[in-house]
Symmetry: C3
């Protein structure tokens, strides 16, 4: 059993895999942050979607008026969905890329640019920055994931 | 080739990894359940969004009236999206956590609490239970994922 | 270090894992394609959701009229969300399945049918094809993921 453990630990001791683990944890934590930001805007803007969430504000019509959409809440929610659409491919393809034996420096370049681009994307969406700020930060993360997918298919292709 | 296989099998034979595999399969199957539940409410409430889905109910205006939103359908869809937002980080961070060499008992504690919290969250959303039922079950799953991310970064940090 | 690398490379050299890597990259790239398709419809239909995205079309009311929903844009977005709901479970459960030691031919059968079903689902959603075209392609991908989850739980169950 300790032999198995040793082999498992080798994976987390491999530098490329450690870099993958670090940046995957960072971008997933960043994505998770969108939930409390949504909650913050729902409470400060008093804009809810579930009737049970407004019960604390009274009963009947006095609470019903808080069942509404708010531009700031919807903006955070779009940023959250965009994270899901882009971070899910990074996590899946990035794992396969990390296991395909890239150079550490090349892998770090991919991971750092992706994480930086997604953090910029969140600021561009929430502030919001004028376009093409958000568009460019989205495109950079997309291109990094595409580059990793190409490396995976080149190393692993078995149809 | 059989040597490689043996090494691969070791991963699935490792107890922490087996626990991760078990609970990841459970929470992903739970998330997948939201699709037939959505379909069930769409059919019983006759509330569809795609015109081609109402063709069985006749043509023209008689079918068009079923292109509408329904509070129950939207509720299930919000639960499904909340699953995506929370189960995706669990699956990604949980894999890295399982490979970071935690004690089996500690890992099982994390996985069991997360799975229990997400199952409770679904019941709290669909029944619905009064708040803070749904909020607390969400927060417990969130905290478990955060705890695993901390362990991953402590074991693997390579920026 | 080169010894560790060798062990990591074994994972990507394993044929079942290579097949998993190939089809995971394919379905994630297919999902990523939904983003530029959404952008294409937003630009050709001039239907945007963020005010900063319409700034290029002028200021004030002349730009505001492009902040609207469009049936084609919404259709692509539903297809994208359906991909997230179904491809995320495939990627997570498929990884565990690939590590559970299935026969290469059985694994390839699962991966090929899933990828084919999801590509068909996208065409069925975007053309759109009459039902049950989209429904059936969805159900086939769902059943494949369920079958893999059953194999994972059979091989790994540790509650």
């Amino acid at each position: 059993r300790s032999g198995e453990m040793a082999k498992l630990t080798q994976l987390i001791d491999n530098e490329v895999f450690r870099a993958y683990a670090t940046y995957t944890a960072i971008v997933l934590l960043k994505m998770m942050l969108m939930s409390p930001i949504t909650a913050y805007f729902r409470y400060t803007r008093k804009a809810f979607v579930n009737p049970e969430d407004t019960a604390a504000f009274g009963k009947g019509d006095s609470a019903k008026k808080y069942l509404r959409t708010d531009a700031d809440v919807e903006r955070v929610r779009r940023g959250h969905l965009n994270d899901l659409e882009n971070i899910v491919p990074f996590v899946g393809i990035g794992l396969l890329y990390a296991l395909s034996g890239p150079e550490l420096s090349t892998a770090l370049l991919h991971f750092r640019i992706f994480a930086g681009a997604r953090i910029l994307h969140t600021f561009a969406y929430l502030i919001p920055l004028p376009q093409p700020g958000r568009g460019l930060s989205w495109a950079v993360g997309y291109a990094v994931t595409f580059s990793m997918a190409y490396q995976v298919l080149k190393a692993a292709l078995l149809l």
